[in-house]
Symmetry: C2
Subunit: 246 residues, 2 copies
């Protein structure tokens, strides 16, 4: 028995998120089915980030155990031939049998993209959130700086999440303006449910002048979801990469 | 009666190209229907570039005549409310009644994108052509330089095209490598049927070492479609902009 780690990329548009559920196709469900068919074993992957419905990934991580003799590096070829066009494996390698993608220390990087122009752009619609209002990028950068560090992100966690602690460490938040796109890039050690989307929604409110950068500390202190901004739409969010310290 | 010029952006994935046809939805067909409904007149647009099935546009151009009193600059708002998500109008302005988007002098810019990595990337699949083989960008640039100028592009025109002359002027061809994408950008004064896709297909063969940059002049001189490379797939092609000298 060996444990294989996959780096998985997907277009989340047509999926009900990562995690298996009764109604609707999920990334996890498709991976389990394709792996089980390929290996003729009952395979159940463990995912690193259980991304929401409509969220994309360039590099989510999943592990599974198998008795197969297929060398790890051959898995992308064998799997991609079975996977649909909107889910592909980019890399596979063997890891320690006790490696758990959610319990091991990691740094995750997400990007939230806003297509900011007078009218929507069809080729951008699936991977960014369209908004025609002007944004003050400098103000957004000032606000973003308050997120960096170890804070209680209770206000930035969807109410229905059940977690022991809402304290998380954010390493970096950058905001880049590239042609007509605004890209919010967040790196941290684990995120709460909807945390990046609520951060993005709140930063957008700052950019539009509806909140001040200096409001961020009091929103954090409130430890109340209603103190923060709206949850930005899923299509703008992409999980870029997950780095493990192993 | 006045003539309105629209700048139109679309994701060509789900359309049978620009030009109206009996079977299948087209960009022209959708524009005619939405404009006719909006204005309660029988509107037939004239397009600048009749892009193929699956080709995208950030800025194609279309004109139409109307008796409507709606100011030109209001058209994007009124039309976008009726248009599907994958077709949007970015700009509208009144032009001279004799302005014809195909007969007036213009410079068109196209981009052909290749996603060049060991495995396909789902979020890139709709707007680029996936290829895992290595490309020699310098060789592609050397080859591209031979296209610049006024040449008979007969070898780069699909056989079934009926045109008076196959002489065209190419102003610029650049090849950029950006992360895992290779972007071939072509600017010229009018293009033959499939010309940019055959140029892209031929440049890719040079990049893979199957042809030499020095072969381009003899391919041009052959004036024979079979002398050039394959027609690169439609999904990688995007019409970026059309500039008129008026």
């Amino acid at each position: 028995m060996k444990r294989i780690m996959l780096t998985v990329a997907y277009d989340g548009t047509n999926y009900h998120g990562w995690q298996i559920q009764k109604n609707g196709e999920t990334i996890e469900g498709v991976l389990n089915r394709c792996l089980s068919e390929l290996l003729q074993e009952n395979i159940e992957v463990i995912g690193a980030s259980r991304t929401d419905s409509g969220v994309h990934a360039l590099g989510n991580v999943a592990v599974f155990d198998t008795n197969s003799r297929i060398p790890a590096e051959k898995f992308p070829y064998a799997l991609n031939a079975r996977l649909p066009e909107d889910i592909k494996v980019r890399c596979a390698r063997e890891v320690a049998p006790d490696f758990h993608p959610r319990h091991c220390e990691s740094r995750k990087t997400y990007e939230y993209r806003i297509y900011n122009a007078p009218f929507p752009m069809p080729v951008k619609r699936l991977y960014s959130y369209f908004s025609y209002t002007p944004y003050d990028i400098e103000k957004m950068r000032e606000a973003a700086a308050y997120f960096v560090g170890t804070h209680d992100f209770h206000s930035f966690c969807s109410a229905d999440a059940q977690v022991e602690s809402t304290v998380r460490q954010v390493d970096e938040v950058t905001i880049e303006k590239k042609d007509e796109e605004i890209i919010i890039r967040v790196t941290g050690r684990g995120f709460l449910y909807n945390m990046v989307r609520i951060m993005a929604g709140t930063l957008m409110e700052v950019g539009r002048g509806h909140r001040m950068p200096e409001n961020i500390p009091e929103i954090l202190e409130a430890k109340d979801r209603s103190a923060a901004g709206t949850t930005a739409p899923a299509c703008g969010l992409t999980l870029i990469k997950i780095q493990y310290e192993v």
